[in-house]
Subunit: 230 residues, 2 copies
DNA sequence: TCAAAAGTGTTTTATATACACCCATGT
DNA sequence: ACATGGGTGTATATAAAACACTTTTGA
């Protein structure tokens, strides 16, 4: 660099709120047990320092890859937290992201960076390090708001899913019951679901039809001013 | 500090997209002509470096105060821009905010920090320094989205306004014509406007009734689950 | 044959849209 | 008296909400 600016600089990190759905379609968040101070031994969001040679989103993806092994997941910037005392050691500003991961088709592992990783239901979160509880709260609010007018819920389901799975996903995130017939009427009327010639397997009752989200069609319709809405 | 983290640190700045409405209810953005390199002599968003002792929002408010003299305005975080090469001199991450200012009741001045400040209609923006054009585009999109489901438009109007002014504000921001009777029906049915016993002055036609936004009532209703929507 | 979830329409209610004329005021 | 924007109501169309029974399948 030919020149640098003469100002004191805060540390800059990224933190990720990774959401996943378990088999019972409970919404969970991935946490990491810290093996370094501060807050050693406490649960925290996966994240780390931004390197000088990578963008913020690249830093978030790298940390997720390192700590969980997940690549190519839905990732979106949430908010930047910059209270002066949010880290007891130094001034640290963190750019928070939230991610959605399909737990049916991907496995998550804990790596050397982190002593332990685990999934916690959003209703049973342990106390978190730093201001991470606040970050999770904001991510939940964002997810709840966004899932209604962008088709991001599909990121949490397997590629092929049943309408009941999809409905339960919305019920979980929106925290309210939906009417089965009205839900199906609405989602099918958008013509964004491809009805497959396949059904569920290994269920102890009538097997449900499988569907797939038609992303191509959604992108086309969006161009023409279509708005997804549940 | 007893300890600091050993990582290279990007510079951290804040930038503000300040929106105002002129007398014709045209939407404008405040720009500053840079008197220091890089991009010396070019137009840019007001902003500057975050100090170690202040939060991000405090930094944004301080810069606005210094560069425009405005205090107590609506200010909300927009997005954080962290591409590696967005500043030619050094790695600079910027937290962008957008602000809404009532130009009817406040004056804006340019100060010593900035050689010049001016308002530009959003449809006639000059080329901007750094990635500031992108930031303005995102702020416009945010404003357009948010004005429909949060009562933030009032921030751009004088405390006492006419329904026609309010309607024109929405037409300007949403970039589409609205039906007068339907608009009035909808906005009045929310019972969030206080009908004053006053009318416009100095107009060459029938003077319109003045209204005032009832923020107290809005906050109460919001608690109970009410959603503002235009 | 029983349990468990899949699948399917119609009626009612609420909300959004379309639409045109008279009124009050200042020049 | 005229130009300018202020102010008002109804009918239609569309979308949301409420609501219950039959079907299929595996255990």
């Amino acid at each position: 660099m030919p020149y640098t600016y003469e100002f004191p600089r805060p540390c800059l990190t990224v933190d990720c709120v990774v959401f996943g759905l378990d088999e019972q379609e409970k919404l969970k968040v991935m946490l990491i047990k810290r093996n370094l101070p501060p807050y050693k031994g406490e649960w925290a969001l996966p994240g780390g320092f931004v390197r000088m040679s990578e963008s913020l989103e690249a830093a978030a993806r790298r940390e997720l890859q390192e700590e969980t092994g997940i690549e190519n997941l839905f990732l979106e910037q949430l908010y930047t937290f910059g209270e002066v005392d949010r880290d007891p050691r130094d001034r640290v500003v963190t750019v928070a992201y939230y991610a959605l991961v399909n737990l049916w088709e991907h496995r998550i592992y804990a790596t050397t960076d982190a002593s332990d990783a685990a999934w916690f239901p959003v209703s049973e979160m342990p106390p978190l390090a730093f201001d991470h509880s606040k970050i999770v709260q904001m991510a939940l609010a964002r997810l709840k708001g966004k899932v209604r007018y962008e088709p991001i819920g599909f990121e949490l389901l397997p590629k092929k899913f049943t309408l009941s799975q999809l409905q339960k996903l919305y019920e979980t995130i929106l925290e309210k019951k939906l009417d089965k017939r009205n839900f199906r009427k609405k989602i099918l009327s958008m013509n964004l679901l491809i009805k497959l010639n396949e059904v569920q397997t290994n269920v102890a009752h009538r097997a449900a039809r499988l569907y797939q989200f038609d992303e191509q069609k959604y992108l086309q319709l969006k161009e023409k001013g279509f708005n997804f809405e549940i």
